[in-house]
Amino acid sequence: MLNEEEHMSEALTRIFENVVLTEEKSLQAGYFKDLSIAEMHTLTAIGPYEARTMTNTAEDLGITTGTLTVAIDRLVKKGYVHRERDKRDKRIVRISLTHNGKLACRMNSKFHRVLAKHILAGYDEKDRKHLLDLVDEVDRYVEQQLKRYDSSENVRATARQVATDTNKEKK
């Protein structure tokens, strides 16, 4: 029999993998076969309403603007994203979803809502609240861990930058 830590660890990993796998399969079986999961997440990060900057969207996705540019090139070609330069400041590139992009984004969001609805349906009101409180706690803890690594990465990046600048000055 698994001990509690193993049980929790395996269940968390399995839930994460299976949600992504189910999402991927539902995409392949549905109306948006030409989209990968990563592309769908890019559409979700842009969102169905106001245009966003490349910089903000890349930050939300945790990727560089260079990586995002490659992804956006593909999504523009596929007809899911509209890209234009800011009228006042030409350095800023704004991206927004086309009609099809909005449709894909909303269908994906519905997938997640339906999944959540079915999970919650098996519980009465009191247990649903308890479950959501526990899930929130797990969510907060994992997010804290992520921030810890993010900030240590930032510290390392700053240290590397300072070292590079110092070396340049010495030369």
Binding site: Y31, P48, Y49, H99, K102, L103, R106, M107, S109, K110, R113
Partner: protein
């Protein structure tokens, strides 16, 4: 009051026209008492096509949480009217 009535008539015409175009049926077949779940043959993709067209026509947002409360064509007209007043 008359302005509000005129606006509601216009919104009703638009909502029914967009709905008819999405479902590829005649607008005459759609009355405001019809229910989304039982009377109108929307699949989920068509429903979002309709919703996005309404959002773009009136520059409003119709998130899923709000759509859950919309049961009939009349409800949809009410929600659009309310959101237009807020905008």
């Amino acid at each position: 009051m008359a302005d509000s009535d005129n606006l509601r008539t216009k919104v009703k015409e638009d909502v029914i026209r967009i709905m008819a175009e999405t479902l590829e049926i005649s607008p005459e077949e759609i009355t405001s008492d019809l229910a989304f779940n039982t009377d109108l043959p929307f699949d989920s993709l068509q429903l979002y096509e309709f919703v996005i067209d309404v959002e773009e026509t009136y520059n409003i947002r119709l998130p899923d949480e709000l759509l859950d409360q919309v049961k009939t064509v009349d409800d949809m007209i009410d929600v659009v009217m309310k959101l237009m007043k807020k905008a």
